[in-house]
């Protein structure tokens, strides 16, 4: 599996660290305990398209949001997490 890093180009997956579901949103600091339990522990774990965080530790050190099919490992999109955070690209699909 190779990820097409927006900064570095296609790189082997061994250069990256995985950090799981990218669609989770941290609750407000004063949110109720069940909201925090959901955020920390519960996952959709889809068989299909999954938006997930990868960190390019052996490259540009960027956090990436990768859209990948968990059934086939096909990758539809790789974007810098910072761009998504600034421009809200997560709502536009891939």
């Amino acid at each position: 599996m190779r990820l097409n890093c927006p900064c570095c180009g296609p790189r082997g997956v061994e250069e990256f660290t995985y950090r799981g579901d990218a669609t989770l949103r941290r609750p407000a600091p004063d949110a109720a305990a069940p909201d925090w339990v959901d955020y920390v522990y519960l996952r959709d774990n889809p068989a299909g398209w999954h938006r997930e965080l990868w960190y390019h530790g052996a490259g540009c050190h960027a956090w990436l949001v990768v859209t990948r099919d968990t059934r086939t490992h096909e990758i539809a999109d790789v974007a810098r997490a910072v761009d998504i955070a600034r421009h809200g690209r997560e709502n536009t699909g891939s």
Binding site: M1, G12, V13, E14, Y18, G20, D21, A33, P34, V37, D38, V40, Y41, L42, R43, D44, N45, P46, A47, H50, E52, R68, T70, R71, T72, H73
Partner: protein, 419 residues
């Protein structure tokens, strides 16, 4: 059916008859309209659950629905290791219960599962690891489990060919559980299937659950590719597909599905007489009775339902193997595969009721489900039959994450790919 019991006499009879009288080990059942209990998932845990429901809890109208065929999932593709060398109080009694069930399994189910208590040896390479294994061994012995600390000379006598004096990871000794070992994995599936079938359990293959029918907050049956099957109670035992099946009941689980690879080499003369694990990386190896080296390492580390892994982990496993026992460097790989692991947020399993009435969950076995098969089946059967947890599985609750009562052997926190 009683005459189908396997014994020296049935073997002699079939020898004289030219092996023409053997019958299928279990019926290929067609679904009945309803059952007292339907187990979704015909893997090792699901079959064991059905067997113990019928055998120990007297529930006779039981069906197991399986989307593929018996033995095609993780029960037929694992590294066959059994052990009970855990550290935490929530785990040790459960895995020791499983070990005791393994010890009596073949007599119980009248099937040769080739249970081989050849020992499991965890190597250590420095003082900190030695201390950690002393602590683990003491915890085991306090729970009545056998554990023995070996110094490097004792390890060397048993396995003279390991790489003892490597500059980076010298071997200093190991923690041995003599009662650990290996079991012929698919014989476990076949043996439980046959034993459950003899007690009247319907094993329904090629029957995929497509939905759970609910009425007033309770599950009343399972929609399948072979029609609706009514059920008084439904048990989910779906391993890597647990999240998908639980979603049919509107549940989200503290689980991610990951992919784990394992490897078998060409057959060799016997030279590894126990299970050995490398303490400085993630690598474990044993030698099957056919002579193949059976080994594995880490999960790949990302969500996957692909049953296919990637090269970096293969490289990592082989590096571990070469660091531990350089003599396997020229051994050729015979086959390699990958399976789905239902990785929980604390690395420990779940056997519990769900918020949905009459729906029970057995999931989250991470990559340690095979050794748990008998106790998982027993405890899940107990839960379904009595609607209360079995005492040795009382810690495996679904709500433990919210209560802060996680069972985290590795102390990694809520990151499934690190357990």
């Amino acid at each position: 059916m009683k005459n189908d019991r396997y014994s020296i006499f049935s073997l002699l009879r079939e020898t004289l008859r030219g092996q023409t009288g053997w019958k299928p080990a279990w019926r290929d059942a067609t679904p009945q309209p309803s059952y007292d209990v339907v187990i979704v998932g015909g893997g090792g845990h699901g079959l064991a659950t059905a067997y113990y429901l019928a055998r120990r809890y007297g529930v006779r109208r039981v069906a197991v629905v399986e989307k593929g065929w018996i033995g095609n999932g993780n029960i037929g593709r694992n590294t066959t290791i059994i052990r009970s060398n855990y550290l935490l109080p929530g785990n040790v009694p459960f895995y020791e219960c499983s070990m005791k069930l393994w010890e009596g399994l073949e007599q119980d189910i009248n099937y040769n599962a080739m249970v081989s208590q050849r020992g499991v040896l965890n190597l250590f390479h420095n003082d900190a690891q030695r201390n950690a294994y002393i602590r683990r061994g003491n915890a085991m012995r306090l729970h009545g489990v056998d554990a023995q600390l070996l110094d490097v000379d004792a390890v060397r006598r048993r396995l003279p060919f390991l790489n003892y004096d490597a500059a980076r990871f010298p071997i200093r000794g190991g923690l041995l559980q003599k009662r650990g070992g290996t079991v012929r994995h698919d014989a476990v599936a076949w043996g439980y299937a046959r034993a459950a079938d003899r007690l009247g359990v319907d094993i329904i293959q090629n029957c995929e659950a497509t939905g759970l029918r609910m009425r007033e907050g309770r599950v009343v049956g399972v929609e399948t590719t072979r029609g609706f099957i009514g059920a008084g109670r439904v048990g989910l035992s779906c391993a890597g597909n647990s999240s998908r099946v639980a979603a049919m009941a509107g549940l989200r689980l503290p689980i991610e599905s990951h992919v784990l690879q394992a490897f078998v080499s060409e057959g060799l003369k016997p030279f590894i007489d126990c299970v050995v694990t490398f303490g400085a990386g993630h690598f474990y190896i044993s030698q099957s009775d056919k002579g193949g080296l059976v080994f594995g390492g880490d999960i790949d580390g990302y969500n996957s339902y692909a049953q296919r892994g990637n090269m970096p982990v293969i490289e990592d496993v082989c590096e571990g193997g070469m660091a531990l026992m350089p003599r396997i460097g020229r051994v050729r790989l015979l086959r390699h595969w990958a399976g789905l692991m239902d990785m929980t947020m604390d690395g420990s399993p779940i056997i519990d009721r769900t918020p949905v009435g009459n729906l029970y969950l057995n999931a989250g076995w991470c990559y340690g489900g095979f050794k748990a098969t008998p106790a998982s089946g027993l405890c899940f059967a107990h839960l379904i039959a009595r609607d209360e947890p079995h005492p040795v599985a009382a810690a495996y609750r679904l709500d433990r994450f919210g209560r802060g009562a996680v069972i985290d052997e590795k102390g990694m926190g809520a990151q499934p790919n690190l357990h």
